[in-house]
């Protein structure tokens, strides 16, 4: 599976250096959390204020 091959170097790096592996993952996780939080702040401003009514009003006819 080429997909796994492509990722293998990264994994090997993790395996060769066990101590930093966990912190690196941790760092990636917290980077991602910060990134997502930035995004949430950005989209908070456009989200429908009355979610319940908005969801209730989204009624479609069936299609193909």
């Amino acid at each position: 599976m080429a997909g796994q091959e492509q990722k293998r170097p990264q994994r090997r790096e993790d395996e060769d250096t066990p101590p930093p592996a966990a912190p690196v993952t941790h760092q990636q996780d917290s980077d991602r959390t910060a990134e997502v939080d930035d995004l949430l702040d950005e989209i908070d401003g456009v989200l429908e204020t009355n979610a319940e009514e908005f969801v209730h009003g989204f009624v479609q006819k069936g299609g193909q």
Binding site: G3, Q6, K7, D37, L39, L40, F54, V59, Q60, G63
Partner: protein, 504 residues
């Protein structure tokens, strides 16, 4: 084997008029179609009073693939401007824009590569947005959604079309595709809040369509929907071609997932055509497609008739290996692109699906939803999450979450805004869509109707002599094929005179 193939994609858009849930969807859909046709500018679209050529096909003999004939059909039924359900336009980019059931639908022109699919599918979003803006200028507020489900029982389709040689037995196609379609969703599902056709259970799932698949193989598209659809409507020479009509897929807003959806399927069809499809047979495809959709951890395994159990990624890996063996080192750039994206996405899905945020719709959506769940402590039955799911696919970046993420660079773009803008106007050059689109832009007032395989001209206004050019070969009518002729003719009469004679 290469990924190149005549392909197209159709999207039925969800639509609402804010504050008016009882507005007629058919009426609103008609407004959208006519707003684009009237607002797009000269030469961009046939006015909705022209129409679609529903006349039956006839066999053709001209070696170049064209046949001239006096049109016998009464086209008056297509010109009824008062009936919004007949709103219908053919666009200068070769696409069809019309009302299908109760949704405005954009059917892309026929293209040849997955990358072109992304370009002309995005063009469809762009021109729908133009229609929304045109309506807003006239005081009509309409919102369009590129999704496939309302969470209250209704589903509407995004259909893929692939040209396949007629000689390939349909049952071989169905057998080869079924396990692939059950697994493919992990690369290209749009993600959905709610489990079950009526979202009766709280939760998140990978696919918009999985819960609406009720049969493995069948003809229906609106009820008892099948994973493999048997509609046999080639829109081309039926003895040579089959148009495989795929209804199992979701509408994508991520370029990578959209390209993978079409590209991987074209490659699997290549395997089937070569008789090299992997021998996989699922014990219960309808149950399997739902169970896989319901497990975003991707750990779920499904049973095969031979007793093995495999995850979606296991199944995809078997197809991927078969493709690798068949492609060898001969992959062209378009094929290589699909394979590289396939490997990158499945590799990351295996480690952590959220790594695919920006490339795969469901993973992108899940990352945002999980963010809200963590930050605000929301449960899956919170209406805010359902609202985010709907608002996700609003095509207007003023509100649409995916559109905003694309605008702020959070989605991996495979194509540029300039390419998309050009594709709103111009047809792809490699198929008959080029002839169709060029006729719309060059001879707007004299094109009375068109279809996938015909263009009907009214050379002189008020005269009864309608004349049809038929295009039964999807790869004829390309720019290379007919561009010089189109550039050289004085007008429609001249063009018709040349097309009638092969020596032209």
């Amino acid at each position: 084997m290469r990924v190149r193939r005549v392909m197209g994609i159709e999207t039925e858009f969800g639509l609402t008029r804010p504050g008016d849930p009882h507005a007629s969807a058919v009426h609103l859909s008609g407004l959208v179609v006519r707003a684009y046709a009237s607002g797009a500018g000269p030469g961009r679209a046939l006015q909705s009073g022209a129409g679609w050529d529903y006349a039956d096909e006839t066999p053709l003999r001209d070696a170049r693939g064209y046949e001239m004939a006096r049109a016998l059909a009464d086209l008056s039924q297509l010109t009824d401007l008062d009936d919004p359900a007949t709103a219908n336009s053919v666009l200068s980019n070769g696409a069809r824009l019309y009302v299908d059931h109760a949704h405005p639908e954009y059917s892309s022109p026929e293209v040849l590569t997955p990358r072109q699919i992304v370009v002309w599918d995005r063009a469809g979003e762009e021109l729908m947005l133009q229609a929304v803006h045109t309506l807003a200028q006239g005081g009509e507020q309409v919102r369009l959604y590129k999704n496939n489900v309302d969470g209250k029982g209704a589903s509407y389709g995004t259909h893929e079309n692939y040209l396949v040689p007629r000689q390939v037995p349909f049952l071989a196609i169905a057998a080869g595709l079924l396990p692939f379609f059950v697994a493919r969703q992990v690369m290209c599902g749009a993600g959905r809040v709610g489990i079950g056709q009526f979202s009766q259970e709280p939760g998140f799932q990978i696919s918009q369509r999985a819960d609406y698949m009720e049969a493995s193989i069948g003809l229906e598209t609106t009820l008892k929907r099948p994973i493999v659809n048997t509609r046999d409507e080639p829109h081309a020479t039926g003895e040579k071609h089959r148009r495989l009509h795929v209804i199992v897929g979701d509408a994508n807003l991520c370029d990578v997932a959209n390209l993978l959806k079409m590209g991987s399927t074209s490659l699997v069809l290549g395997l089937i055509e070569a008789g090299l499809a992997p021998e996989l047979e699922l014990a219960d495809p309808v149950t399997a497609i739902r169970e896989i959709s319901h497990d975003p951890s991707l750990r779920h395994t499904v049973e095969l008739v031979d007793g093995r159990t495999m995850s979606a990624l296991d199944i995809l890996a078997v197809y991927r290996e078969a493709i690798e063996a068949h492609v060898g080192d001969a992959a062209d750039a378009d094929t290589r692109e699909v394979l590289d994206l396939w490997d990158g996405v499945t590799g990351d899905l295996a480690i952590d699906p959220l790594r695919c945020a920006g490339r795969v719709d469901w993973a992108t959506k899940l990352a945002v939803l999980e963010g809200y769940r963590r930050r605000d402590g929301l449960q899956w039955d919170d209406p805010r999450l359902a609202a985010i799911d709907i608002q996700w696919s609003d095509i207007d970046p003023a509100r649409g979450l995916a559109a905003r993420m694309r605008a702020s660079g959070r989605l991996t773009n495979l194509v540029t805004p300039d390419e998309v803008a050009a594709a709103v106007i111009n047809p792809p050059e490699g198929t008959r869509a080029w002839f169709r689109g060029q006729c719309v832009s060059r001879f707007t007032g004299q094109v009375r109707a068109a279809s996938w395989d015909s263009v009907v001209f009214e050379p002189a206004t008020g005269q009864r002599g309608l004349r049809r050019v038929q295009l039964p070969e999807p790869e004829l009518g390309s720019r290379a094929d007919i561009g010089a002729l189109l550039d050289s003719v004085e007008g429609v009469e001249d063009l018709l005179a040349h097309l009638v004679s092969p020596e032209g």
